[in-house]
Symmetry: C2
Subunit: 222 residues, 2 copies
Amino acid sequence: MSSMKVDTILVETLIGIFTIDKGKIKILMMRKKTDPYKGYWILPGKFLNIDETLEDNITDVVCDKLGLPSMYIEQCYTFSNLNRHMDNRVLATSFIGLIDNITLVLKKQELSDIELEWFDIYSIPKTGYDHDKIIFKLIEYLKKRIINSNILKILFPSDFTLPELQKIYEQILNVQIDRRNFRKKLVNLGYVIDTGDVNEGYMGRPAKLYRFNEEAKERNLF
Amino acid sequence: MSSMKVDTILVETLIGIFTIDKGKIKILMMRKKTDPYKGYWILPGKFLNIDETLEDNITDVVCDKLGLPSMYIEQCYTFSNLNRHMDNRVLATSFIGLIDNITLVLKKQELSDIELEWFDIYSIPKTGYDHDKIIFKLIEYLKKRIINSNILKILFPSDFTLPELQKIYEQILNVQIDRRNFRKKLVNLGYVIDTGDVNEGYMGRPAKLYRFNEEAKERNLF
DNA sequence: GCAAAAGTGTTTTCAATACACCCATGG
DNA sequence: CCATGGGTGTATTGAAAACACTTTTGC
């Protein structure tokens, strides 16, 4: 545990894992148990070994280190500021991961040695290192992707209501959307399909249930 | 010059520099003078030193190694396949660079120790390493960017005709565009401004000269 | 006057936006 | 019956796409 400076460049991966929990989009963070930044929150990740790709490495982080099911992942950006870490020179390649809450709850293993918590993307706690900047970039990346693709379907694998889906778009993009126009767009462009079922048992009129159309071609929304 | 395997991970940068030469979009490649891949064409780049960021490093490549003026650069993707290099483990962070031909010709220095050539983006020569795959990804990235931003203005710093500009969109996107609709879109969205001048001295009717509107807000074209 | 290349206008279709009222359920 | 939340329709505006003829120059 010395602070001897290594004269080689190290590479780490970092992942922002997003899920939807009770209608809110959340990002998973890990509480750091050792100095530096002890007690601060950081993105999960680990150093790259010589015998693994960045993608293999981040899959390991997800499955082995975090005890989560394997999930959809995209590479985002590589950060290389000189002072990212105190003692060593460390590059960080960042990823987003998307996992639906049902799979998450079913398949996750509780690991006792790490402290994980899901945070609202606009209420990020005090972060260690430059992870605040990295999270900002990951959220910007996610915004672009939900506009120019239909990756949100990963977070909605089963039936959902349009108001639920709309609230997620509104949270991520940080805008207000007209309910009627939202419905028209998603349905007319063929992104979602009416299942014929409704969502009963809540206050107010039951909402129709939809699912994502696997055949829909990706378009720019908004 | 041994082939001893180093047990650390190295990081290199690679850049696809694009310019427009006689109405064609071109990418700059470098002929490799030593084994492995002697005589093959590769993207310019170099290994990352411990005291520079990826962006500093790639700027050095452009200015010092290639003798080109400093230019507009964006990071694209980090490649980490295990077998990218034969002897060492080398990650590659790739960039695109954009430079207009006028600045290029004015400010480049001829360096005798490197062999550079501009290639049509659809006629890439035999490449060393995995640079063919990297070039493919860089071109895909460039496609996205010319659709969702106005970065093409970097390649057209001075007056240009709409047919010239259209041909570049057509080449990069690999599509045919209707002349009338193209003009309507670019002019109506405020991307380009009529300078009042015309381009005389060529066959056929002289074309009007336009320039990019610095104030135009970025929109999705096509 | 002919070839080459550029400019222009109209129509149709579709998406984007703005906006207000009715409906189905739970309590 | 009322509160809650969801569903629906219309009108306007603007962009997208398809399409053919005219204009200006060089030779």
